[in-house]
Symmetry: C2
Subunit: 367 residues, 2 copies
């Protein structure tokens, strides 16, 4: 299985037209971002200097918040956000989704470093609803919502539900924090600006290496008291680096380059999901994407599917899928997120790849 896995990844990396994301994660990402940078530009020093302060100001404005702080990672930014709200309320209890990044990808930093207890709302298969929040029988300091909910394919609540959750939290003294790792990517679906969405939240984190495609880095935004506290915690975490400009310059560059393309990525995601859904035994989640991402579920085991996919990729040069992951029910899935690459794939090659995939799956079903 390890061997198969490697071979799909190998095939993908050799395709003429990989579908996923913006491009390979190489040093070129940095070189392009720094191509026009003046060598005399002063570095930031421990959070000070025009290069960091200007970007923070522009991001505060884009997110409609009083202030913003650049962080090396979202992991650091979000733990700190929850810690600040817990300290303010004098209660180390928060609520979030069972598949929240803090719960499954951070080695329990929130618990180990901050001793904050999370209550898991909803369940692994669905979004948090207003009812889930209303039914909480314990007091919490902060509710974290991730928009879109990445681990279930990038789903979103109706905007009205979101407004109702926000109103409920405000009425009940619960701070609302936005895990907006993919915030910019959902603005076309909601038909709202980032600032309009953020207005429903007390604090917000956004990432610069998802849809934006930078190297790394995050912004945490909120009121000035909140961001001032976050800088103290940033130093405690070891995130107040002498200079963060490699990440700031690239975040800024790719933000400017791609912020206007979010609608295009969203439309393309819907198109691609439709092509997947037309194939035998394939279903996307959500069926109609609400951002630039979705999951593709295959009703076939990974062992059987992987060689078929390798054939399709090798024969057509179109990288439909870069990896597979097994699910509990012995089927498998992959994640797709649209960036600059999709529009570069010739439509006829794309169609051929889907036809071939559909044929191969149908043939395999007969065996």
């Amino acid at each position: 299985m390890q061997q198969n896995k490697k071979s799909l990844n190998e095939s993908y990396s050799k395709t003429a037209y990989p579908l996923i994301g913006h491009g390979a994660r190489t040093a070129e990402v940095l070189l392009e971002a720094f191509d026009d940078v003046d060598g005399g530009q002063s570095a930031d020093m421990y959070g000070r200097g025009a290069i960091i302060e200007d970007f923070q100001s522009r991001m505060a404005e884009a997110l409609g918040k009083e202030a913003a702080v650049f962080f090396p990672s979202g992991t650091m930014a979000q733990q700190i956000a929850l810690r600040i709200w817990c300290d303010e309320a004098g209660l180390k209890k928060v609520a979030y989704h069972p598949l929240c990044h803090l719960e499954i990808h951070e080695e329990d930093g929130l618990k180990e470093l901050h001793h904050i207890e999370p209550i898991l709302l909803a369940d692994k298969d669905r979004l948090i609803t207003l009812e889930d929040v209303q039914r909480l029988d314990e007091r919490i300091s902060c509710l974290l919502l991730e928009l879109p909910q990445r681990e279930i394919g990038g789903q979103l609540p109706d905007y009205g539900e979101l407004e109702a959750i926000s109103a409920f939290c405000r009425a009940n003294g619960i701070k609302l924090h936005l895990d907006g790792a993919r915030l910019f990517e959902i603005t076309p679906y909601y038909g709202k600006s980032a600032a309009e969405i953020c207005a429903l939240f007390d604090s917000v984190y956004v990432s610069f290496y998802k849809g934006i495609g930078g190297i790394a880095g995050a912004i945490l935004a909120g009121n000035a008291e909140f961001t001032a506290k976050s800088k103290i915690w940033k130093r405690r975490h070891g995130g107040d680096l002498v200079s963060l400009y490699p990440y700031i310059v690239s975040s800024d560059y790719y933000y400017k380059l791609r912020i206007g393309r979010m609608k295009q990525y969203y439309e393309e995601a819907k198109e691609l999901a439709m092509l997947f859904n037309q194939c035998e035994g394939i279903q996307t989640r959500p069926e109609i994407p609400v951002s630039n991402m979705f999951h593709v579920h295959f009703r076939m085991s990974m062992e059987r599917l992987e060689p078929l996919l390798v054939d399709v990729l090798d024969e057509t040069g179109v990288g439909l899928v870069s990896y597979l992951r097994e699910t509990d029910d012995h089927s498998c899935f992959t994640e797709v997120h649209i960036g600059d690459r999709y529009s570069q794939v010739p439509k006829e090659d794309l169609m051929m790849a889907f036809r071939l995939l559909d044929e191969k799956i149908k043939r395999a079903a007969l065996v």
Copy 2:
């Protein structure tokens, strides 16, 4: 005073020959490091990939340790080192110098995030001795030694004293951690390799933006069990960035460029300290430097000295001092660290600057 301070800094930044360090902290530092980097070079991904693993291996070898982990900051690396040793001993107590970086520059991250209690050894004016360690009347998990002790001018214990402290710690089940932010810079004075010095310690942190002059970044080294644990804590802290290569590439580049120059910087520091010490009312600490750094103490108030220095800098174009800091006894001091710049200053200009400084101080003393 704020005005004077600004003006010395301004004068310094306009001098033809600033003395301190390697050069201005500008984007050029990154551009130079990436000049020969192939755009196709793959990025590191969450601690994996040749670009991070190769550098870690080479640093483990240079430090004579089993393994090494690249961290975005020393603040993060050192808190984690102490946490691992405390957890292993089941005792959240360590000892370090009162002017240790963790005590004065990290917003108490060690206490706030790790709940580790530090015992302050020695006092603010001198180094930790073997006797200080022997006299400890409480059990500790780990002793941190900073070599050289930056905040007192970069002083070092005799090597024999260091060996004796190491032997005592080993005999008494105390882990010994090296704050080696300036480790490479002390190898010429001790006449030992970095690995020989590190052999006295269980874990070691080194920095890449002090004598090495990179952008940011640190290495934490020790045995494989220790470094494996440090990776988990690195993720918890939010330091396991998707890609750290901007710091790794620049650390590697400047390490190769400057590791062979440490003896030169050390010899130049001794020369420059001698020139300061020949001036009226000026004394360096240590009198004879043991690394590339020292402090310069002036027996004059900052208000009186600053205009004199501004005149010297403006008249000679030699940047002897970039800032001043007041001390408790109403005199003042500055820190000097030697890098690539010192050797570029014409000797006659340097001598003229010191003559002028000496004259001005003597004249001021008569007023």
